[in-house]
Amino acid sequence: MSSVTLQDVRFVEPEGTRNYITHDYGALSWLLTKDHKRIAILYLFSITALFMLGGFFAVVMRIELLTPEGDLLTSDTYNKFFTLHGIVMIFFFLIPSIPAVLGNFLLPLMLGAKDLAFPKINLLSWYLYMIAAVMGLYIIITGGVDTGWTFYTPFSTQYSNTHVFGVTFAAFIVGFSSILTGLNFLVTIHRMRAPGLTWFRLPLFVWAMYATSIVQLLATPVLAITLVMLMFERVVHVGIFDPALGGDPLLFQHMFWFYSHPAVYIMILPAMGVASEVVAAFTRKKIFGYAFVAYSSLAIAFLGFLVWAHHMFVAGISVYSAMIFSFLSYFVAVPSAIKVFNWTATLYRASVALMTPMLYILGFIGLFTIGGVTGLFLAAIGLDVHVTDTYFVVAHFHYIMVGGAVMAYMAGLHYWWPKITGRMYPEWWARLAALLIFAGFNLTFFPQFILGYLGMPRRYHAYAPEFQVLNVMSTAGASVLAVGYALPLVYLIWSLWYGRKAGPNPWGAVGLEWATSSPPPMENFHETPVVTWDAYDYPAMMKAMGETQNV
């Protein structure tokens, strides 16, 4: 029986059959859709727009920092720009990016299901996201907000004259979008798997989405209630977090980071899932240590809840609790390292096809490692005291968020682009963009490690003249990075009309999503697949094919 491989199972529709894109026409058929694939496309448009908005703030800030004087933006405007950059990129791009676009599109396909468990709630999630995004845009147009994305009290509740209430309300709403997506994914993974698709046959992307969804479900409500208390304090003028009125500002920081540290794993766990898929597909191997990689996602999700106060080492928490949180923070490195070692072991002695998704993932593995190791520097209390609130911290989390999460998002977008659109992207241009992004990214953020170590504080529009050379390098890198991100925007749109037809499985990859047509039909599979093979069963496939069809 075990001789049945994925190669024998095909659900490809005849040429000309209607797919999810051509199934219905008109704006309403998209705005009222309950199909997970169409909702993924809605998210793709929305988060791309918000990514450009967040990028705009970053570009203006980098131009400001070209010279030591604060000459382009006033300090107040600069405060608003870094605040809005953070809020837009974290709440409106990174957190929904891989789950809401790729996860939405792929999860039912990978599970052999017709849709997510709750299609209407899935659409509701997108509308909540859009309501929050429109509120955010309105606030940006009417004056912005200057608290930093962390909304620290009592500045945010008592002193700031900007739109704190509106922005926190928008963050509250977009939080429910995130919760409902996580809830939908968890139920889908538990209850909608195809017959035979046991837990340890699941693609590692699904394991990653599972771990991510747990964090979304359990961490986000704490942010929601914290923001409710913040809004209540601001409107009613009572002192929940204001020390002058008997409140405790540290309590706000504890509750904020109880969500916002795990939120880092909402952003990076899906990226790790993409990495596993791409590494397997472009090495034609089973992922080394599948079970370890699967369990390490859950371990990261669990440990991520126990380390929040490492954001507060200099905020006035006791030395003993700082030591405990420092100690626990080191533990997160263990499952993260397990993943990096297992991907590396998979690459070892493999014939690696250096297509665009793989280039991004190679970049991801290296940059994530640098970001992770500098995270250990920051988990050490002594070193953290030295570099707190400097550019070292900025560089560290951009290595994780941009070098890690965004690189993997780009990898996933290219890897599944043929499945989503039915068209191939232009390989040469895509490789060029990948290399530009890698080079531009490092040129932007590596100098910031040095700047921070030398003592340049974050969140100022002016700086001491001796920091200029490194800042010019960083701004130059940001320009390269901007070109790198603009290229895919152009060639991916171009490919919709002029790209080569992809066919159901252009990479010769295994996984149920490649067993149906590209783009998939509305119902995904015209009959429910029965799974008798393990994930990444490339050895069996290669054997069956006589190794004739390499990429």
Binding site: H190, T226, F232
Partner: protein, 231 residues
């Protein structure tokens, strides 16, 4: 095997139960998915209320005298009455689920209606309490004029922030629950439920019981604490 036209698969669905959604294999899968979804939603709710309860406990430990004084301002008779009313409403809710499972249409509607009556009683009593607190100057902010123990007044105000905040969130959940009850009553009246399909009533019941349990925590935390706690 691969070229079966899509239409054949569609035809099959017409024999299915009218409330079976197209993306589920059968009613069992649909029921299990919906139930699990509600449990997960409730776990989100636990963390949501857990956050504000955590803040409540931090300040209770910091300001035990003010917390005891704050609880003294509450009407234990109203609070106790409401606790009993809610526990009875949980019983009628459970009976509504049982009636739905047995396919007893009128029994289901009657029990849902009874639950709605008890829930509304709770809200009415809560409203009287709110009204009285407002006139006693116990609403936080500029309306806070309570000053019996001046040294502790700001901390008592903080207690009242948690009182209004937590009971307010609970009341909001009750209002949503009342809306769901009315929806379920109309569906039950139309005879949607029976031994094969009673999931919505059961899931609504889970929600209702959860909201009750929240009150079971709020009542002692806000009404019954007393004395000075040294922690």
């Amino acid at each position: 095997m691969s070229d079966i036209p899509l239409d054949d698969a569609v035809v099959e669905h017409h024999e299915h139960h009218p409330f079976l959604q197209h993306h589920f294999e059968d009613l069992g899968q649909q029921h299990e998915a919906s139930t699990l979804g509600m449990w997960m939603f409730l776990s989100t709710e636990i963390l949501f209320f857990g956050g504000v309860l955590c803040a409540y406990w931090v300040y209770r430990i910091l300001y035990p005298e003010a917390w005891a004084l704050g609880a003294e301002q509450q009407n234990k008779l109203y609070g106790g009455l409401n606790t009993i009313v809610l526990i009875i409403s949980s019983l009628t809710m459970a009976l509504a689920v049982r009636n739905a499972q047995l396919g007893k249409r009128k029994g289901t509607v009657a029990m849902l209606f009874a639950t709605l009556v008890f829930g509304s009683t709770f809200m009415a009593v809560k409203g009287i309490e709110y009204w009285q607190h407002y006139h006693e100057g116990l609403f936080p902010g500029v309306h806070f004029t309570w000053n019996e123990v001046p040294a502790l007044a700001p901390k008592v105000q903080l207690f009242m922030v948690f009182y209004w905040g937590m009971t307010g969130l609970h009341a909001l959940h009750m209002v949503i629950g009342a809306g769901l009850l009315i929806w379920m009553m109309t569906r039950a009246w139309r005879g949607h439920f029976g031994p094969e399909y009673y999931g919505p009533v059961e899931i609504m019941g889970l929600y209702w019981h959860f909201v009750d349990i929240v009150w079971i925590f709020l009542f002692p935390f806000l009404y019954l604490i007393h004395g000075v706690h040294h922690v």
